[in-house]
Amino acid sequence: MAEIQKINVAGNQNELVLQILPELAELIRLSAWVDDAGAKLGLSVSRLYAVQLCLEELVANIVLHARAADPAKLSIVVTLRPCEAGLEIMVDDNGMTFDPTVTAEPSAAHSLADAQLGGLGLVLVRRFTSAFHYRRDNDWNRVTVLLAG
């Protein structure tokens, strides 16, 4: 089911696409795919790290929290798309509507005792990207982040 596809789209951009199951074990395969994709796209070490980080956080969020009317049909599609502004990362899922871009960040802790253990994933996505968008389209959630440059 999982595969790397090169899709020639308008403007001769090359997208790399991976479909995965909503299972934690798939994160390991996703990581290996990102390494391979990074080599194909010629990403720097720091850029590759940012892609790995964003996808780990966004996909783990879906695997852990997504709800679907029929869980057996829940699917996740990851796309890497080089563009003029940098590199777009898109994560699609057909679960129920969920917009992570409006999720409040945990309040800044002033001491270790006050530190919250959750909510750090989306904080990191925001810090490592220059744009973070969401849209709902034909029963699919699409989150798009941009790594500029």
């Binding site: 934690l24 994160l27 390991i28 990581s31 070490v45 720091s46 790290y49 790995q52 980080l53 780990e56 956080e57 783990a60 800044a108 802790a109 001491s111 270790l112 005792a113 530190a115 253990l117 959750g118 750090l120 994933g121 904080v123 990191l124 810090r127 490592f128």
Partner: protein
Amino acid sequence: MLKLLTESLAPGVIVVQLDGRLDMAGSMEIEEELLAVVTSNTMVVIDLAGVTFLASMGLRCLILAAKTVQSRSGQLALARPQPLVAEVLRASGADSLITVTTDIDSAARAVMA
């Protein structure tokens, strides 16, 4: 796969060496063992030199370990993070809550202070 090794650095000071990816899979592999270490020691240095990737579940693991040590009136420090791992510590604000050093000796001094 994430590996965890421990060694005694000085009387009462234990160093936890982590090697591999501290992501969701890695965190699940070592969390129980790490918590066992921090609940039986009060001066703990976590050597991150071998950690090639740190994500939020790994951060959660490190913060939980530090909170556990502090709740027992101990100290925990992180040592030798690779540059991109250090960037995650900065971006998350974790470096303002947990001492982060560039060498093991400084971390040891911090937990013995």
